[in-house]
């Protein structure tokens, strides 16, 4: 039961939001976003402790004696708690960075939005630890439905409405594929738990049906991760949704789906035929996803669209880590480390965008010209996040990429092997990403602004930016210990 504290906290925060929604008022909203955010950070600490605990003998003992309803459905391993930490951090940061947006840009329903975000974060956390198909399915659906609702929140904004509808229909369609795949798997093996599926498919004679099922499941996961060619919703939805929601969508569902992807495929399908299939799909998926995301991002004129494509590219990088889960012990820690870096840097970048659009109402790239003179804090924060997102050493983004490369290398990238070229593409891609990230920074610092009105930064979103800065910096300065901690949590056998 102790294991569920993170999820419990998230649901509690959400429930409180619904209660507040009965009698919303500005002070209550303010208190809610603040206390809710703080609760999440507190919960993150607890979850971190749980992750640590799971690596110890005491944790092993607790897991062995855990009640059946936990052990059937959830994996009680450190990896799951590491993603619980992430979910709580994402939720807390989103709470903070939404505050001014809710106050200035939305007429009503502000507490509900935060509540749904908390529910979504709970879904994210569940998805990261689910170890059998029903839980996986419901978690991913919870995350999806929250996403649809979130995208629709500023419903009087036609772009938001359209984004929501688009997300909804496409998400449902891709879920259908996934469910189809799940039903095949269950039909063939009669098992729901991932380990059981692995055992049931150990022999020969599985034929082409199992890989087919795996690939169909990949469609569903691919949609959540925004893997090409299932990425097309991403820019439209990111652009249309309210900016804090976009910030959340760009990290939450993506990371949870990646974690689940790593767990499901490495646990359930480690055997030859299916494995060749999903590794092949992920290889090309990662390659094309990162390249397409980066190349298309260059030519965007709207910063949210640009970040949408860049987040597609980041998903491509992380897919490399998922790809090598079966080949390298480093893969899961690489995924976790990149995920941490990605949360801070991407939410940081979105916090800058949120803060800017709160005041100016614009997401067009050209409106960022000369921001350094209008708001040095935002401009410098962006420059910092941009460098981190590019992966310039010694930033957190670099550490993340370095770990992914090391994992892939460890998995047997030798000269001229496909994996080697994948890594070359990865490195080249991070060079390409320089063009658009630094292009925006260049606008901020080197172009004259249209006018000199300052862009004040709100307290909530300012704090969120500060926390993201602190998080990224902390990962750099204390890289050794922190990464060691993450790694202790994430180097493990998944089952």
């Amino acid at each position: 039961m102790v294991y569920l504290i993170p999820e419990f906290l998230l649901v509690l925060v959400g429930a409180v939001g619904l209660v507040i929604a009965f009698a919303p008022s500005r002070p209550r909203l303010r208190a809610y976003s603040l206390v809710g955010g703080l609760t999440c950070f507190g919960g993150a600490v607890v979850a971190g402790y749980l992750a640590y605990l799971a690596t110890t003998d005491l944790g092993a003992e607790l897991a062995a004696t855990a009640p059946g309803y936990l052990t059937t459905t959830l994996a009680l391993d450190p990896f799951s708690r590491v993603f619980a930490v992430l979910s709580l951090i994402v939720c807390g940061l989103t709470f903070l960075l939404s505050k001014e947006y809710l106050e200035t840009r939305m007429q009503d329903h502000q507490p509900e939005l935060l509540a749904v975000i908390a529910f979504a974060a709970a879904g994210m956390s569940f998805l990261g630890s689910a170890r059998e198909l029903i839980t996986i399915w419901f978690s991913i659906e919870l995350l999806s439905v929250c996403g649809y609702v979130l995208a629709a929140f500023t419903k009087d904004d036609e772009r938001s409405a359209e984004a929501a509808l688009k997300y909804f229909i496409l998400g449902t369609a891709s879920s259908a594929f996934m469910l189809f795949g799940l039903s095949y798997v269950y039909g063939m093996t009669g098992r729901l738990d991932l380990v059981g599926i692995m055992e049931a498919t150990a022999g020969d004679g599985i034929g082409v049906l199992l890989p087919t099922a795996a690939v169909l499941m990949l469609v569903g996961f691919g949609f959540k991760v925004a893997m090409v060619p299932f990425h097309m919703w991403c820019p439209d939805v990111y652009e249309g949704a309210p900016t804090p929601v976009t910030a959340f969508l760009s990290v939450g569902p993506k990371l949870a789906a990646l974690a689940a992807l790593a767990r499901v495929f490495s646990t359930a399908f480690p055997h030859e035929v299916a494995r060749v299939a999903w590794e092949g799909v992920l290889f090309w998926g990662a390659l094309i996803t990162m390249t397409l995301g980066n190349v298309v991002a260059i030519k965007q004129s709207n910063i949210k669209r640009m970040l949408a494509y860049s987040s597609i590219a980041h998903a491509g990088y992380m897919l490399v880590a998922v790809l090598v889960t079966l080949r390298s012990d480093l893969a899961l820690s690489a995924l976790a480390i990149y995920a941490f870096a990605y949360v801070f840097m991407n939410l940081g970048a979105f916090a800058v965008v949120t803060s800017f659009s709160n005041r100016t109402g614009s997401d067009a790239l050209h409106s960022y010209n000369g921001l350094a003179r209008r708001s040095p804090y935002l401009a410098w924060a962006w420059a910092f996040f941009a460098l981190t997102l590019v992966g310039l050493p010694p930033t957190a983004g670099f550490l993340g990429k370095a770990y992914i490369i090391m994992a892939a290398w460890d998995a047997g990238a030798t000269w001229n092997s496909p994996m080697f070229w994948l890594l070359v593409v990865l490195v080249l891609n991070s060079a390409i990403s320089l063009a658009y990230y630094m292009g925006v920074a260049g606008r901020m610092f080197f172009k004259p602004p249209a006018h000199d009105d300052p862009v004040p930064v709100g307290g909530g979103v300012g704090t969120a930016i500060g926390l993201c800065l602190a998080g990224t910096l902390l990962m750099v300065l204390a890289a050794g210990p922190i990464i060691g901690a993450i790694q202790n949590g994430a180097v493990f056998a998944l089952h």
Binding site: D236, G280, Q300, L330, A402, M406, T414, A431, G480, Q487
Partner: protein, 635 residues
Amino acid sequence: MSPLDTLWLVLLGPALGALINGLWPQRLRGRVTHGVIACVAAGFAFVVAILQHIALGASGQEIVRASYFTWIQAGNLTVDFALRLDPLSSVMCLTVTGVGFLIHVYSLGYMAHDRDYVRFFTNMNLFLTAMLILVTASNLPLMFVGWEGVGLCSYLLIGFWHRRESASRAGFKAFAVNRIGDAGFLVAMFWCWKVFATLEFHEIFERLELATAVDVRWITLLLFVGATGKSAQLPLYVWLPDAMEGPTPVSALIHAATMVTAGVYLVVRMHPLFHHPESAGVLVAWVGALTAIFAATIAVGQRDIKRVLAYSTVSQLGYMFLAAGIGAYVAAIFHLVTHAFFKACLFLGSGSVIHACHEEQDIMNMGGLKDKMRTTHWTFLAATLAIAGVFPLAGFFSKDEILAHAFQANRGLYVIGIACALLTAFYMGRVLFLTFYSGRRMRDQAWEKVHESPPSMTFALVVLAVLAVFGGLLGLPAGLGLPHFLAGYLAPLLPDAHGAAHMPARLELALMGISLALAIGGLFAAASLFRVRGAQGEERLRKALGGVHTLLANKWYVDEVYAAVVVSPLSRLAQAVSDRFDPRVVDGLVNGVAAAVGWGSERQTRTQTGRIRDYVLVILTGAFLLVLGLIALGR
């Protein structure tokens, strides 16, 4: 407490300086204070470097290594934040901090009237910190941190006058081109980890036998790719000339004396790998030689004084790579040091001239400055003679050592080397005579205002000129039985330390004679063309060279070719891909949706719902193709 116990101390000064200047909430009273803080920081680092140098010599140790904390821990890989002091890094520290300090002092005067004075000094100190991390790092990742750090500072300082469009463009170009090289460095680093299971220099060198021929070839090649980016070698040299958009002290410090030599340092630092018979050393030598001659020809055709010096830097760096490629590591480092002296002096001199002529940079519009700017003239003259290789100035000895090694290694390299020496003397003579001699070509108004620079600037010029004159004493030709101090100092570390000693004295003298004759010949040719005639001499040169001159003046059209072959296809590709894959661009949905609300157009609504169908179809098709591919794979 010996200075060797506190290796980090050398980083402390510049790091603190950058912090104080960067974070001080209000501008201190009298902005000069900020400049002074930066200078003191650089000076402190210089003093520490000297103390460490002495202590290292006295201790008799070859390598002092200090690890401060574990930075990265991944599986079997541990990367410490560890510094290392050995003769090589000590020499680099001395050069970097010494020249750096002088240039900081010079900047006090040069930047006195700039509105972003504080930002300038913050960046300069930051640069020094990064550069010192680069040269004192004890493992590849930490070195890479410095490597990227100097790149970042270089970007910031090139784009320092960011209100100039060309400056921010040049900064971006430098950053982007360098990333290509960095990709090589990164891959090399991971390759090293794969092969040696460590990234510490000394451990790599201990485990050399683990590497196969293929490993060595590719690691050295990839490292060299990294070096070509940072040190502006073919084909990645294009950013350096544009980098002259930055303030002149920046050009002197970063783009002449220190950062651009990082590539040479990298090759020398990794010399156990490059020394392997299967390494890419031959390639390094040839790329260096070709860059040297290529850039020297371009320098002949340039009119902007800083651009001439920039191409000259590219060319001299080519020499260093030539030396490093054939295994003459000491010669490479020797030339690196002397080059830092005379090229910094030349850049600062040109800065002094530009300062005096009110931002005029075209040598065709100068002339006759000899009497107006005595100190600048004399120091510039000394540095020109040094770079041209006139006996007994610094450049003579270092260049001669490289040429002697080249002569033994490969005659082709030697011929390119001496041809390049001739061109060097010629184009430097051209700059010297067109700037300081050959009658004035300025308008009276401007001429009246020309003045010698303030003492803070001339001080640095004089010190550097003295170093340019006497720097050669560091490495007297061992072949003649003279002491080669630098070689002796580096001997424990670098294998070839006495390589040139094997040459017969007579041959050594003959080679020296040839070099000297070519240097004087080149200077003489320049003098006869430009000393009196000035601009008419340029006209003659153009006629004599014909079409070739157009080619040279336009830098062999390399920038244009790159633009046509690399940049514009990439840009077009991005556009095409985004047209195809970004639905928004296709029919301008942004406006579309907004418009749909405004006037509820049937067409726009159709595109909305139609789009979702498109996407569903894409998902369906994607899934279908995946399954099909699977079956194809299964068969």
